[in-house]
């Protein structure tokens, strides 16, 4: 599927910022990502807010409940409501996560990691194809952050993701913070991860902050990390972002902040920093 147009630098739309975003005061943000499920099969203020934002900005629908990796059947009810929302909102594209959120008819409302086996690869590929047939719109999968890996995995995550993209034509929503968090938690080289991803398949970047996972053993100077989206983007993630830009060039980029949500100006400044670092790089460093 054709890579969607470059959207610029945006932020995730969160409730405390809606009034500011819809005010007459200008914002530097060029686009918004919204959590799809917050607007599926709902009316009232949430729906009105989304329609108002969409009137002014491009929007990407970012899901958390598709459960693409689950061995439960894909939810037709979910896909029906997602397709209806997409038809109303006309998003630039849709995305969700490479994970499962539940099994046996239950859901954790969490992004649970999955083993990267050949069986899992075939399973995810067939389900992504089904989702794309159903939505008939550009669709991207995001690399998750994780705190446990699988002894039974046969592929590395980046290989798995690249193969899903190659076989289905879906895009990759590359969460730079997730790559960093997982690289610390599982002790791999994040730059090697990035280098293994396919040119042209990276449709969007996520940037966010994270926290230390307290407790546990080992060297206290090498803590595990939690993907909490409750801080400013830390310098190691900015550096990995710059490496990502060097490898993949101009990519629509979004700053996420989901907990301990700051004043609008703080979030907007993070978005401006993403834009600044991108403009410093230009496209000069794009790999051939």
């Amino acid at each position: 599927m054709t890579k969607p147009a470059f959207l610029g630098h945006g932020v995730g739309l969160r409730r405390p910022h809606v009034e500011r975003v819809l005010s007459d005061e200008p914002v530097s943000v060029e686009w918004f990502e919204v959590i799809s499920e917050n607007y599926m099969d709902v009316g009232g203020r949430p729906r009105q807010t989304l329609l108002s934002v969409r009137e002014r900005f491009p929007v990407v629908l970012h899901g958390v409940s598709l459960s693409i990796g689950s061995t439960d059947p894909l939810s037709e009810d979910y896909l029906t409501h997602l397709a209806a929302l997409a038809n109303e909102i006309e998003p630039a594209f849709l995305s969700d996560h490479l994970c499962f959120t539940g099994v046996g008819g239950h859901t954790a409302h969490d992004l649970l990691p999955m083993p990267y086996t050949e069986e899992a690869l075939d399973h995810v590929v067939s389900r992504v194809q089904r989702v794309m047939e159903r939505l008939r719109r550009p669709f991207a999968l995001e690399n998750p952050s994780s705190y446990v890996s699988f002894a039974v995995s046969e592929l590395r995550e980046e290989e798995f993701l690249a193969e899903v993209a190659r076989r289905t034509g879906c895009g990759i929503l590359l969460d730079v913070n997730n790559v960093y968090v997982s690289s610390v938690n599982h002790r791999f080289d994040p730059k090697a991860y990035l280098a293994a991803l396919p040119q042209g398949a990276i449709w969007q970047l996520h940037l966010a902050g994270h926290s230390r996972l307290e407790g546990g053993g080992g060297n206290p100077d090498e803590p595990m990390l939690l993907d909490t989206h409750d801080h400013e983007v830390p310098e190691p993630v900015w550096e990995l972002y710059e490496e990502t830009l060097r490898l993949f060039g101009e990519v629509s980029t979004l700053v996420e902040w989901d907990d301990h949500i700051p004043e609008w100006g703080v979030l907007e400044a993070q978005r401006d920093e993403a834009s600044r670092r991108a403009s410093l790089r230009g496209d000069a460093g794009v790999a051939a």
Binding site: V42, G43, G44, R47, A108, H109, V148, A151, R187, G216
Partner: protein
């Protein structure tokens, strides 16, 4: 091991009430998990063992739900107190693990669950407050529907009224409480610093909970109004709405007054945009 077996085992470990480490022992003892499942499937290191890494997800499962459900029941959580709320949600999530892709339904069984929970023996009014908070949260985001304009009543043949039923909007709830939780809700909402020790006055209270425009309201009804609106919500024909409004008193005077109450109840719903259609 198949993907399905791995996911099922992972799931069982993270939803257990006392953490993944105890769950591993219990599930192996009961034969739900094969011996050595965790070490065969997951990877640990010197910082955290495989089971302790799985336990990160077990903690997140519970805390995420506890905190998300609190958003729909902020006043119940405040008045229950942090420890009691934690215990209630521990029991609730175990009894009602989420089944919907939408987080908005995660707390839908909490009012009924709370009514039978030990917490309700100490503070029985908490269940009524939970029902009110749930009705308000539901109304806030219920689907938008085209409303029947008030003027549509004038087009109805007077002879047809008795057999006519009306459809009310999905954002309308009639709530009949044993405690005056509507008043309590308002007092908590208006207080600069809501007191965790607040309690409602005893006494029955019938509340109409609804969304008008984008805002959610609740409004106290008289007993006769509540009976009429209950019948309208149930989709009863208008003759039955009048009968319900009249209640047990079948005197001519009361029946006539009840017809006026029923008509007033219908107009109340129509004027707030809460009637979506009608039909025989």
């Amino acid at each position: 091991m198949s993907l399905a077996d791995i996911q099922k085992g992972f799931w069982e470990l993270i939803v257990a009430p006392e953490g993944a480490r105890k769950a591993e022992r219990d599930l192996q003892a009961s034969g739900v998990l094969p011996e050595g499942f965790v070490d065969a499937v997951f990877v640990g290191d010197d910082r955290r063992s495989a089971i302790d890494r799985v336990d990160v997800y077990a903690n997140m499962y519970f805390f995420r739900l506890r905190d998300a459900i609190r958003e729909d029941f902020p006043k119940v959580a405040l008045l229950a107190g942090e420890d009691a709320w934690h215990d209630l949600l521990t029991d609730y999530v175990l009894a009602h693990p989420p089944v919907s892709w939408s987080m908005r339904y995660a707390g839908q069984h909490l009012p009924a669950f709370l009514a039978k929970h030990p917490l309700a023996e100490e503070r029985p009014w908490l269940a009524d407050l939970a029902r009110l908070e749930w009705a308000r949260a539901d109304a806030f985001q219920q689907r938008d529907e085209p409303m029947l304009p008030l003027e549509a009543l004038s087009a109805i043949d007077p002879e047809a009224w008795g057999e006519l039923a009306f459809r009310t909007a999905a954002c309308v709830t009639l709530l009949e409480a044993d405690f005056r939780v509507g008043e309590l809700w308002v007092a908590l909402e208006e207080a600069a610093e809501p007191s965790p020790g607040s309690e409602p006055e005893p006494g029955r209270e019938a509340l109409l909970v609804f969304r008008e425009g984008l805002a959610v309201f609740h409004e106290e009804l008289t007993p006769a109004e509540a009976r009429a609106i209950g019948a309208l919500i149930d989709g009863r024909i208008f003759a039955e709405v009048c009968e319900r409004a009249a209640g047990e008193d079948t005197s001519d005077e009361n029946v006539e007054a009840a017809a006026g109450i029923a008509a007033g109840a219908l107009v109340k719903l129509l004027s707030r945009g809460l009637v979506t259609g009608h039909g025989a």
